[in-house]
């Protein structure tokens, strides 16, 4: 088929396949562009408008198919001149012409002159705003493309471009186009001379402020929509992009700040916060005071948290803007004058502690202080002495507390990275204040010490004694412990506090060496806190090294400061005997062993090798009296990093797997068997990159299937879990077997149900099979396991006589799986959960109630269809005598249900309120509390 016929086919029948065919011909050079244009010429010149338009569309469609390197520079030029002429021909032709322009603009060989021609043609031949949305969009795409990649060409047009652009976008209302326009404007204000048209440019943008736009709900997910945030952000970027806008923008912001509409005020503050990068204070000198007044008013009388936060940030920004400009005492713009103004305005509020403005005023001053170092030292030097004086004069304890809170608040300056010194005299006075009131207000004083240390205020000698005395007293409250620990770590970390740190440590050590007693847990904890220093850690630690269970609990926090080999040879080895006595029952001992091994790297190879050679490979280790040694070894070996010890782990596995298996099958204690199984699983999991290990594991799993008893099933499930964790797809091989076992009405069924719990439980209790011990855990493993189990269990769900144990498993499963994974499934499971509530098996009630409760809380509407079954059950359970947590949860459910539409609840209301009357008289206070809550919700249903 030749070119002519194809073109005819398109023009007459609109056959879209033609586009592809012609495109292919052009790419394979069977057809030259010139011939094609000549062939289509008749149509382009046709007297019928529709034919001219169709021909242009065809050219556009074909060029769109070709790569953007296809056209030569001279071809582009000729096409451009031709299309330019078509633009003026008829308005119907303008749209396909703009499409073509867009394609040509993106050609890589287009030269600058042609770009200029194109832009001139767009600006002079047509009126952009008369186009439909899609064509306007194309125009802005072309202009943005030129601004981004052809800036030289745009700059040839200079400020004419700015003027023409203003005309082109004036009145634009479509959000998709606006985002593009704003992007263009951002580049224009940056790279073009906007001076002659700055006011017009500002006006054309400012009319969109503050942006109010609600995106339409789209039907299809593929359709791209513009969000409100996108528009707000791009508009803000334009407004804040150039300092020349300052003189117009600030009056506009002031106008919005004075309005009653909170969103307008928020938007204005948002723009202000972001404009300080570009704007200069000297351009807006006369507006600074009004701005200050408006911002402080917003902050002091904020209606909500959001406005307050924005206003405070705006105040900080204002002070930063002022701080940027050159100033001395005479200039009108002066940081000092503004700080004085802020103090003058807020000072009185600080004195009236019973009034509500104390904290807003404190926050305003703090926002000022946060701006820069000058501001903070000015605020500190006037406010802190004032507060300290007030503190001494006040009598009420809660007033004194408030003052301390304020001082602490003023000393928090998170944004300033550079070191700032407190004004002279103030730290000394504060230290005195701390030491005189440490006993009375320990919590406040500790926070204050922390903040002062952060500001590098060197404390006096008294602090050592105060802290020592405080630490050595008994019964420090938990919240104080946290603060104390933060203070001690702060002291420990910096070189400048080295002396005081050493002194406190000496004092503490003396406290138990002198009396020859064992140190208390708190003291030991504080000593450890004082070791948090990368250089001095080892030295300080050695001074009070004291093997105790508490020590084992605390030591891992120091590991980051110590070398791995030191940890292994000095800490792990010296604590080994103690670990033997603890490993059986103390979780921390297990974690300690595991942490020690996880820090081991290349440098520890010899230690590790000696360790397992002399311990694990020694046959006597398998005797019953050495059981504890074996446990310590297992937690240690099981936590070695694969990265460094892959080969060693393989050697260990090959050497001991037979013995280990033998132990598992013959041991008497279930707990020990459990740990052995996990260790076995741990090794298999870590070595699962090796096929021969997997094969071995699979053989063992097969063997377990032949003799079904408790131990074999347990080993089976742990090995399966070990494999699945690294290769989740393997679950498909095993899950059917497990389900089959679960269906049996013999003890095997119960055992299998228990096993399923092992599979779905990702808690820490299985330390040896977790990412902490460097096992291979596939990131999607939870989802895959759950989805598989659920799909296999679907038949159960429709089965009405679910065994109690199976129900138990299902409900338990729901408890274990993160809610986000099961969101879609839970609704289909709801009938089961509700059925579980009516079972005679009481053990499942609690967990199914919890699941139901979470569901009603997040998506109350899902319950509507089941309301007839669930409400009577919940009311019955809310008086269930045996378990108070069931009572509380069902009362909670009843409360959440009240968010349903009232006509659904009305039939039950009397009955529920009646039952609740008995619940508020429950013999447990916690139940009564929930009952009162629920009762109120039901009583006030239609209030």
């Amino acid at each position: 088929m030749n070119c002519q016929t194809l073109i005819e086919k398109f023009v007459n029948d609109r056959d879209e396949t033609v586009v592809n065919q012609l495109g292919q011909l052009l790419i394979t050079k069977e057809l030259t562009l010139v011939d094609f244009i000549v062939d289509i010429g008749d149509y382009l010149q046709s007297t019928e408008l529709s034919k001219r338009s169709t021909a242009l569309t065809l050219i556009g469609n074909i060029l769109n198919h070709l790569p953007n390197t296809f056209l030569q520079s001279n071809e582009i030029h000729h096409l451009l001149v031709f299309i330019g002429a078509k633009m003026g021909d008829h308005h119907i032709l303008a749209q396909p012409a703009v499409d073509l322009f867009r394609i040509l603009a993106k050609q890589s060989t287009i030269n600058d002159e042609d770009c200029v021609i194109m832009m001139k043609s767009i600006f002079s031949d047509v009126y952009v705003q008369s186009f439909p949305q899609a064509s306007r969009y194309n125009v802005f795409v072309i202009l943005l493309h030129f601004l981004l990649y052809r800036l030289d060409a745009v700059q040839q047009l200079g400020s004419d471009f700015v003027c023409n652009f203003i005309q082109a976008m004036d009145g634009e209302r479509d959000p998709r186009n606006l985002v593009l326009c704003f992007q263009c404007l951002q580049y224009m204000t940056k790279y073009l001379d906007i001076e002659p048209y700055k006011e017009e440019l500002f006006e054309v943008v400012a009319c969109y402020f503050p942006m109010e736009y609600k995106p339409k709900a789209t039907n299809s997910e593929t359709e791209e929509t513009i969000t409100h945030e996108q528009l707000v952000l791009s508009l803000r970027n334009v407004l804040t992009s150039n300092e020349k806008f300052a003189q117009y923008c600030i009056p506009m912001l002031i106008e919005k700040l004075e309005s009653d509409i909170p969103t307008a005020r928020l938007a204005a503050m948002d723009v202000f916060i972001h404009c300080i990068e570009e704007y200069n204070a000297r351009d807006i000198t006369s507006y600074l005071v009004p701005l200050w007044n408006l911002f402080s008013k917003q902050a002091l009388c904020a209606e909500n948290q959001e406005i307050e936060t924005s206003a405070l940030r705006a105040i900080t920004s204002l002070m930063q803007l002022i701080g940027k400009s050159i100033q001395n005492d005479e200039t009108e713009i002066s940081t000092k004058k503004f700080v004085d103004r802020s103090i003058r305005e807020c000072e009185n509020f600080l004195k009236e502690l019973d009034l509500k403005l104390v904290w807003p005023a404190t926050k305003v001053l703090h926002a000022v202080a946060r701006a820069n170092t000058t501001c903070s030292s000015l605020i500190w030097s006037s406010i802190l002495p004032l507060l300290m004086k007030q503190f001494e004069n006040l009598e009420q304890i809660n007033h004194k507390r408030t003052i301390l809170d304020m001082i602490i608040y003023f000393l928090q300056l998170p944004n300033i990275r550079t070191t700032i010194k407190l004004p002279s005299g103030i730290p000394e006075e504060l230290w005195i204040l701390i030491s005189t009131h440490f006993q009375t207000y320990p919590s406040h004083c500790l926070s204050l010490i922390h903040n002062l240390l952060q500001l590098h205020a060197v404390p006096s000698q008294v602090l050592e004694d105060d802290l020592t005395k405080f630490i050595l007293q008994d019964n420090i409250a938990d919240e104080l412990k946290i603060k104390l620990s933060a203070v001690l770590r702060m002291l420990a970390s910096s070189v400048s506090f080295d002396r005081i740190c050493t002194n406190i440590l000496t004092n503490l050590i003396q406290s138990w060496t002198v009396t020859k007693t064992a140190p208390t847990n708190e003291t030991l904890e504080c000593c450890i806190d004082l070791c948090h220093n990368s250089e001095r850690c080892q030295e300080r630690l050695e001074r009070f090294f004291f093997p105790s269970a508490q020590f084992i609990r605390l030591l891992p926090s120091l590991f980051k400061y110590l070398s791995p080999i030191y940890i292994l040879t000095n800490l792990f080895t010296s604590l080994f005997d103690l670990l033997l006595t603890l490993i059986d029952h103390d979780q921390y001992a297990k974690i300690f062993c595991s942490k020690c091994a996880s820090v081991a790297n290349e440098s520890c190879k010899t230690f590790v090798e000696n360790f397992y050679q002399s311990n694990l490979f020694n046959d006597s280790i398998w005797q019953t009296d050495k059981q504890m040694n074996l446990l310590v070894i297992m937690y240690f070996i099981g936590s070695l990093k694969r990265q460094f010890f892959q080969n060693e782990l393989e050697i260990i596995f090959n050497r001991i797997n037979k013995k280990l298996l033998e132990q598992i099958l013959n041991h008497s204690s279930n707990e020990i068997i459990n740990i052995y199984c996990y260790f076995f699983g741990n090794l298999i999991n870590k070595l699962s990159s090796k096929n021969e290990i997997i094969e071995q594991a699979q053989t063992i799993i097969k063997q377990c299937e032949t003799s079904l008893d408790q131990v074999h099933i347990h080993l089976w499930i742990i090995l399966v879990k070990a494999l699945i964790l690294s290769r989740p797809t393997m679950i498909e091989q095993y899950i059917s077997t497990l389900i089959l076992w679960m269906n049996e009405k013999t003890p095997i069924g119960d055992l299998a149900c228990q096993s399923l719990k092992v599979l779905t439980n990702f808690d820490e209790q299985s330390l040896l099979l977790s990412s902490q011990t460097d096992c291979i855990i596939h990131p999607m493993v939870k989802q895959i396991i759950f989805m598989n189990i659920l799909s296999k269990m679907k038949p159960f769900l429709t089965n009405n006589d679910l065994l109690p144990n199976q129900m138990n498993v299902l409900v338990d499963l729901l408890d274990n799986i993160p809610k986000s994974i099961i969101q879609n499934e839970i609704i289909s499971l709801l009938p089961i959960l509700i059925r579980a509530l009516t079972l005679s098996n009481e053990t499942v009630w609690s967990s199914s109630l919890n699941s139901i409760c979470n569901l009603i809380k997040s998506e109350p509407n899902t319950i509507i269809d089941h309301i007839d079954t669930i409400l009577p059950r919940l009311t019955a359970l809310s008086t269930y005598k045996k378990d108070m947590s069931i009572r509380i949860t069902s009362l909670q459910c009843l409360k959440y249900i009240t968010s349903l539409p009232i006509h659904k609840l009305q039939p039950y209301r009397r009955h529920v309120i009646h039952v609740l009357k008995t619940c508020v008289d429950d013999h447990k206070r916690l139940v009564r509390r929930q009952a009162v809550d629920t009762q109120m919700s039901w009583c006030l249903l239609n209030a």
Binding site: M884, V920, D921, H923, K924, R925, V932, D933, Q935
Partner: protein, 159 residues
């Protein structure tokens, strides 16, 4: 009662809230029984909102723990409250809110009495009489407008 005019006490003194009741180990023991005590009654009423201010009765010191008495043998509860100013026209409404809240939430075996602390209001006797007249309280709570106002006072206590 004129609710449309502006607040009478424009600048009330605000008091600190008491801390939440600490939960003890015995609270979780289903076999031990906890009697309803003064603090529990106080917890019920302290979160009621003042009709005029966005503050709770506790923050305005209208009610405090000492004003609550309970006798579990005789099944009686007595609450005394202190209007912020002696001529407060809201006193009856506050009293009614306290009554309503206790009516909704206390077990029905208790007989409840709500009074103004002696000497705290100029119309003390009149208001006390109104508040403790069962018929009048029920009638008041059946009045739609009044019930809406009372509900607004006690509903926010959930938040």
């Amino acid at each position: 009662m004129d609710l449309s005019s502006g607040p009478q006490n424009l600048n009330p003194t605000i008091y600190e809230r008491t801390e939440e009741r600490t939960v003890q180990a015995s609270d979780y023991d289903n076999d031990a029984s906890d009697e309803i005590d003064r603090r529990e009654i106080f917890d019920l009423i302290r979160t009621i909102n003042d009709p005029e201010h966005p503050l709770t009765l506790e923050e305005l010191n209208v009610v405090d723990l000492d004003g609550v008495t309970i006798d579990n043998q005789a099944n009686t509860v007595r609450v005394q409250f202190r209007p912020t100013i002696p001529h407060c026209s809201m006193a009856t409404l506050i009293g009614l809110s306290i009554r309503a809240k206790l009516l909704y939430t206390l077990p029905s075996r208790y007989k409840v009495g709500v009074n103004i602390i002696e000497g705290a209001h100029i119309q003390e006797n009149q208001i006390n009489k109104q508040l403790n007249d069962k018929e009048r309280v029920t009638a008041a709570l059946e009045n739609n407008h009044l019930r809406a106002v009372v509900n607004r006072c006690i509903i926010a206590s959930d938040a």
